[in-house]
Symmetry: C2
Subunit: 140 residues, 2 copies
C-alpha cells in the first residue's frame, strides 16, 4: 500500500464539479494505469461511478477484463455495483478512504466475503471524509 | 408485464457467441428503447453485462441517468453489480427469467430490500434455463 496514490486520488477528487467528489485509481507494478472521477451527473450515465470508469480504462489498456495484478485506490468505499465489478475484475487489493455505512459494499452488504480481492478501509480517512463533508455542506 | 419482451430477449440471447447467453431489454411506454446482450468476453470489459449495456443505451437515449418509467426484462437474474445499477437507475419493474442462486442480487444477496424497483422472477423460466443449460453443456 502506498498512501501517495490515495493522496493523488484526493487531489483529483477535489477538482470534481457538480458530482459527489470521488476518485479512483488503478495501479499496476507501482504505476498508475487508470484514473477516473465520479461523473454520473456530468455524463447522465447511472454507471459512471469513478470505480467503473477506472475499470473500463484499465480493461481497455490491458485488453483484458481480468486485472489480477492490479490494486485500486478509491476515496470512498464502493457501492455494491462497483464492489462487485472490482472483485469480478480480480483486483488484488482494494484500498478505500471513507467508510460508507449506508450503502457500502463491504460495511453494509459484506459482498467481499468470498472474494479473492483483499480490502483495506480507512486509508487517509480523515482527509477523504473532509472532502465529502465540504461537498454536502455546500449543498445545504 | 408482457411476456413478448422476454420472448424477444430469449431470441437475442440465443444469438450470443462466446459469452454466456444473456439478453436485457428496457421498455418504456410499451416500446423497446434499449436491447443488449452479455459481451464481457467479446469486448474485454468486466462491466459489459447485458443489463449495464442496456442501461447505458437508455441513459444516452433519454439523456438522463434516471429511468423512472422504464421496465427491464432480462433472461437471468442480475448479479449485484447489475442489480445495484438497475435500482439506482430507478427502473420501475424488473422482470427476470432464470434464478441465480449463487450470485443473484435478489436470491443470494437480497439487495432490493429497500429499493423502489419491483422485482418479478421466473418469467419464461424454463426457456431461460434451457439456453443457459445448452451453453454450459457445450462447454463441457
Amino acid at each position: 500500500m502506498n498512501k501517495d496514490f490515495m493522496q493523488r486520488a484526493l487531489e483529483e477528487a477535489k477538482k470534481v464539479i457538480i458530482d459527489v467528489p470521488i476518485c479512483a485509481i488503478i495501479v499496476k507494478d507501482g504505476e498508475i494505469i487508470s484514473l477516473a472521477v465520479n461523473e454520473r451527473e456530468k455524463t447522465g450515465f447511472v454507471t459512471s461511478h469513478a470505480e467503473i470508469l477506472t475499470l473500463n480504462i484499465a480493461n481497455k489498456k490491458l485488453n483484458n477484463w481480468r486485472l489480477n495484478d492490479c490494486d485500486m485506490y478509491v476515496t470512498l468505499e464502493p457501492c455494491p455495483m462497483c464492489g462487485w465489478a472490482i472483485q469480478n475484475a480480480r483486483i488484488k487489493n482494494l484500498y478505500f478512504g471513507s467508510y460508507d455505512h449506508n450503502y457500502g459494499a463491504i460495511s453494509t452488504y459484506n459482498l467481499f466475503k468470498n472474494s479473492s480481492t483483499k480490502v483495506f478501509g480507512g486509508i487517509l480517512e480523515k482527509e477523504c471524509d473532509e472532502i465529502l463533508k465540504n461537498y454536502f455542506d455546500k449543498l445545504r
